[in-house]
């Protein structure tokens, strides 16, 4: 199960300096695996390569906006929690983000490390609960299928 592995955080910002700072902070404070990208396209490819717990992205980037990236992330890994970390503080984009991509949290730059960590921890917990739930539902489905099959065989044996 994915819970046994260190949580994976996908960080996306076109500014290397932001990635360096957040990566340094998270590396010091946590054991999380940090995947940091300045190119949104690279980040999207990462989403195809294995489960991600949290996607934290900037809003304004060349070619692809944070919202477009999160919309793609939602398609690729719906359980992965989506966080927008933006210096482009306007209510309109926040509302659009929440409505369109099912945002977990909206954070503004300049960010506060403690708050960022709190949000990331909450997001990891949510993702893992969702994945755990999905696994349980799958197990239940399988058990239900087996039960149905056994029932069918039982009926057939008596008819």
């Amino acid at each position: 199960m994915s819970e046994t592995k260190a949580p994976r955080i996908l960080l996306v910002d076109d500014e290397e300096m932001v990635l360096t700072s957040i990566r340094a902070y998270l590396s010091l404070e946590t054991e999380y695996e940090i995947l940091a990208h300045t190119q949104p396209e690279d980040a999207l490819r990462r989403l195809d390569e294995g489960p991600i717990d949290v996607v934290v992205t900037d809003y304004l980037m060349p070619r692809v906006t944070g919202l477009q990236l999160l919309a793609e992330a939602k398609k690729k890994q719906p359980e992965a929690a989506r966080v927008l970390l933006t210096g482009h503080a306007d209510k309109q984009s926040a509302i659009q983000a929440i409505n369109d991509v099912g945002l977990y949290q909206y954070l503004e730059k300049p960010w506060d490390n403690a708050q960022l960590l709190l949000v990331i921890n909450g997001a990891i917990e949510r993702t893992r609960l969702l994945r755990g739930l999905a696994e349980k539902v799958e197990e239940l489905d399988a058990a239900h299928g087996q039960l149905k099959e056994a029932q069918r065989r039982l009926i057939r044996a008596f008819l």
Binding site: D13, D14, E15, M17, V18, T20, S21, I22, A24, Y25, S27, L28, L60, M61, P62, R63, G87, H88, A89, K109, P110, W111, D112, N113
Partner: protein, 282 residues
């Protein structure tokens, strides 16, 4: 009276009614603030990243240094070499210090540029390097548009020109903001500046070319009219180009004109004499 330049340039030689002069000053001032205001979101965004980094790095550095100290003390007491973790922390701290340096330089650069444009006291004719004014204006506009617009600057070796730096900067900023607004989605703004060969008196020419939507032929004759704008309320004041022309032609004895092609873009040209040979008021 209609031929008078904006009062802010006219100095003691102006014969304008003081009340009208004051109103004109206020109008020019208000317009300058509007032009700056259009760039505020970009500037805020541009400053937020380095500030976020510096604040975060400072916090991480303090914690890492205290952890480093403990690890090194423990190693010293045990008579051992520094542990790998301590070496890693030093590397982290070095990279954060490097980021802080870049971040501080970025903020200082933007603040310096903003100062150029918000200076109110500088109203005298001065010798300046036009390239510096262009680079400052471009830097500020780049904050706003760099994620969708590529800004190219080709500035040749230019002689120092005699001008009102504050007013000329305002015109450049206005033309660059217009160029940015004319481009829907992604595009390119190309700024060129060079001395005009063989011109007598000596002059320089600046061009600002955008790959925007262009100006419809029927609108072209009205582009420099005060109050004329095709932009939505809150975006355009209809004063930018009217005021720009006044500042270039009347305050500097220069010329401003444009060429445009619908769907391909617009280029504005400014030609300025290297030396002012006449009093600003005509």
């Amino acid at each position: 009276m209609a031929d008078q330049p904006p009062a802010i340039t006219s100095g003691a030689s102006s014969s304008l009614d003081p009340e009208i002069r004051q109103l004109r000053e206020k109008l020019a001032e208000a317009y300058r603030l509007v032009a700056l205001g259009q760039l505020v979101t970009g500037v805020v965004h541009e400053i937020n990243n380095p500030i976020g980094s510096i604040v975060s790095n400072n916090e991480v550095s303090l914690r890492a240094l205290s952890s480093l100290r403990q690890k090194l003390d423990a190693a010293r007491l045990a008579g051992e070499a520094p542990p790998q973790k301590a070496i890693d922390l030093v590397d982290t701290l070095l990279s954060l210090a490097a980021v802080d340096k870049i971040a501080c330089e970025r903020i200082s650069g933007i603040v310096r540029t903003l100062k150029t444009f918000s200076r109110v006291e500088e109203r005298d004719l001065r010798l300046v390097r036009a390239g510096d004014l262009l680079r400052d204006a471009a830097k500020l506009v780049d904050c706003q548009y760099r994620r969708r617009i590529e800004l190219q600057l080709f500035v040749a070796e230019l002689p120092e020109i005699e001008c009102y730096p504050q007013l000329l900067s305002q015109v450049l900023l206005n033309l660059l903001v217009n160029a940015g607004q004319a481009i829907e989605g992604e595009g390119r703004i190309t700024v060129r500046a060079a001395q005009v060969i063989g011109s007598e008196p000596a002059a320089i020419e600046i061009s600002i070319e955008d790959t925007g939507k262009g100006i419809a032929p029927e609108l072209r004759p009205r582009i420099f009219e005060a109050g004329f704008t095709t932009k939505p309320i809150g975006v355009g004041t209809g004063l930018g180009l009217a005021l720009s022309r006044k500042l270039i032609e009347e305050s500097h004895g220069g010329r401003i004109w444009f060429t445009s092609e619908v769907g391909r873009g617009t280029t504005f040209y400014i030609r300025l004499p290297v030396r002012q040979t006449r009093p600003p008021a005509t």
